[in-house]
């Protein structure tokens, strides 16, 4: 709870209704499968500090409602997101077909450099599979997405999805491709980093970002 962090990333979890977005989040945070979960109305939240290559990153995760009708509401939550899990259900082609729409929204409304990882969830239901691994990984490649098949039930690849996405953002920061001080980057310095920096210029940038999210 009071672990200090070097960075704070805003993450989104998006995708059609019933693909398991909230269950992925619950599995990531609680390390448990939530089998009596409600559907999300509007948005729910989770946060967790993870260690990525020696840096502590606090993820602030926005878990959005999946129904198409809520799109106009959830769109307003995209702003300033640094990363996103784009979720479909491997047993439902319909949820896979909707990916393009979600992707357009995310690229248009979140930060320009948003890092997106495609998650083919319900990997444990392989017998009912409607979308092959190969097909989805081609889609991911074409659209410059990272890709994993996950199972919120067993926990397989769930932590990895969040961590890989965070790692890619960190790499982009280190390579200079991403500037945490730019407005709407979805990245803030964490309290640990702030304590080290403390220069007035940085502090200003920090407060400017806070207003912008």
């Amino acid at each position: 709870f009071f672990q200090s962090s070097d960075f704070l990333f805003k993450f989104l979890v998006i995708g059609n209704a019933g693909t398991g977005k909230s269950c992925l989040l619950h599995q990531f945070i609680e390390k448990k499968f939530k089998d009596d979960s409600n559907h999300t109305i509007g948005v729910e939240f989770g946060s967790k500090i993870i260690n990525v290559g020696g840096k502590y990153v606090k993820l602030q995760i926005w878990d959005t409602a999946g129904q198409e009708r809520f799109r106009s509401v959830t769109r307003s939550y995209y702003r300033g997101a640094a990363g996103a899990l784009l979720v479909y259900d491997i047993t439902s082609r319909e949820t896979y077909n909707a990916l393009t729409n979600w992707l357009t929204d995310a690229r248009m409304l979140a930060s320009q450099n948003i890092v997106i990882i495609l998650c083919g969830n319900k990997k444990d239901l392989d017998a009912d599979r409607e979308v092959t691994f190969l097909e989805a990984s081609r889609f991911a490649q074409e659209n410059e997405l990272m890709f994993l098949e996950t199972s919120a039930l067993t926990g397989e690849n769930v932590e990895e999805a969040f961590v890989q996405c965070a790692r890619k953002i960190l790499n982009k920061i280190e390579s200079g491709e991403l500037d945490p001080e730019r407005m709407g980057s979805g990245i803030q310095y964490g309290d640990a980093a702030l304590r080290q920096l403390r220069s007035p210029r940085r502090a200003q940038a920090q407060s400017a970002q806070e207003c912008g999210c």
């Binding site: 209704a17 409600n38 559907h39 509007g42 939240f45």
Partner: protein
């Protein structure tokens, strides 16, 4: 129960009974505190030590008795309170059934009834009162429900057989969309009050919930099924027969606030949030400033609360009491309840940052104290500079329309 226990405990009398004679109960466990003499094979204690031990023993017994007396008194008080509550519910049922319901039109707005209403409607008359209060402006009959249901069933059949497209005048919605919406109903029913286990596949109310939601999509294809509805329908089903639940459901959703939200009219929703913020600032200025500072906008928590009328976020018995007063006072009570929640948790919320507030409010503690909760709501004033909720809302709507004329893309 308490007296029975106390009576039983009185039989095995312990030696120090004279001290306790005037108490009307016997402590339960102190009899287990027995000062044993030292085993005979060991040398006797020095008199002084024995005396000290006896003294310590007596102190222990006194303490234990004190504690047990206190607990017994607490239990007795709880029992008395429960009896009083049961009696008052019994009386309330009589009053509702014999005095209020037969004379609904004349009595529903009287001060006495309004006060009784605030206390919570007894479960046995709750459905009737809700029905009357919600009304049936839409003049829906049981026959109309049957017709809508029959059409819904036809659609489901054609969906499952993959057969020919049913003739449908659902203007503006593609077949794929309707199909998705019917699929979504199925998916969401299993995710509605999952812990109650009555709406899930095989549960007693699964089909009822399915029917009402399906019938509604045929009755109002322009609105269709929107997530959140399943909770509202479920709460109504728990209190009303199917057709009456459908009537209440359709009329409830037809109210201006519910229509704005379920049609996801974003502009109008923002107006509601803005009106809410006027009263937020008025009632809880410190917390309001803290939320502003943290960029915590009201949509983050209000959307879930308004869409499900609190039935997802509050314990069901509390949610029903909120519904009671919502039926009495209308939409403004939904926002007053929100302020009541914020007020109840003001102290901890003021110490939290964005993410913790957001997490807290989208997942409220399960053990909300009901009396404190309603006291907190009661303390919220729904007047801002002599203006009431409806006036503020209308004024903001007017501003909004004028601004929209100026700039078409009005967003936060």
């Amino acid at each position: 129960e308490y007296e029975e226990k106390a009576g039983r405990a009185q039989r095995p009398l312990s030696p120090k009974q004279n001290v306790r004679k005037n108490l009307d109960f016997e402590p339960l466990s102190t009899t287990a505190l027995i000062l044993e003499d030292r085993p005979a094979n060991l040398p006797a204690k020095p008199a002084e030590e024995a005396q000290k031990h006896r003294q310590q023993y007596e102190e222990m017994v006194v303490q234990a008795k004190k504690r047990e007396l206190k607990e017994a008194q607490k239990r007795k008080k709880q029992l008395e309170e429960r009896c009083k509550l049961e009696e008052s519910i019994g009386n309330a049922v009589l009053t509702w059934n014999n005095e209020i319901l037969p004379n609904w039109e004349t009595m529903c707005c009287s001060r006495k009834v309004r006060e009784l209403w605030w206390q919570g409607i007894p479960p046995s008359v709750r459905g009737k009162v809700w029905s009357l209060a919600i009304g049936n402006e839409l003049n829906i009959t049981h026959e109309l429900y049957d017709i809508c249901l029959a059409r819904a069933k036809e659609k489901w059949r054609s969906l499952s057989t993959g057969g020919a497209e049913v003739e449908c005048e659902d203007a503006g919605f593609s077949a794929a969309d309707r199909e998705a919406s019917l699929e979504l109903i199925k998916l969401d029913i299993s995710r509605t009050f999952p812990n109650l286990c009555i709406f899930q596949q095989g549960g007693p109310y699964h089909d009822t919930l399915h029917s009402i939601l399906g019938a509604y999509t045929c009755y109002r294809p322009d609105v269709g099924y929107v997530q959140g509805m399943s909770f509202i329908a479920a709460v109504l089903i728990l209190n009303l027969d199917t057709a009456d639940a459908f009537i209440a459901f359709s009329n409830l959703l037809n109210k201006p606030c519910q229509m704005a939200f379920f049609r996801v009219d974003h502009g109008l929703m923002l107006t509601y949030f803005a009106a809410f913020e006027v009263f937020f600032e008025e009632n809880l200025p410190k917390l309001f400033a803290h939320f502003k500072k943290n960029n915590l906008t009201p949509d983050i928590y209000l959307i879930d609360w308004i869409f499900t009328l609190y039935s997802k976020s509050l314990p069901l018995d509390l949610a029903c009491r909120v519904w009671d007063v919502f039926c009495r006072d209308g939409e403004e009570f939904l926002f007053r309840t929100a302020l009541g929640i914020l007020k109840l948790f003001e102290d901890i919320l003021t110490k939290m940052d964005f993410i913790h507030i957001a997490q807290f409010l989208t997942k409220l503690p399960e053990d909300l104290p009901s009396e404190e909760f309603f006291t907190s709501i009661a303390a919220i004033q729904m007047q801002s500079r002599n203006k009431k909720w409806a006036q503020i809302l209308t004024a903001l709507q007017k501003d909004n329309r004028e601004m929209e004329k100026g700039s078409p893309s009005l967003k936060r």
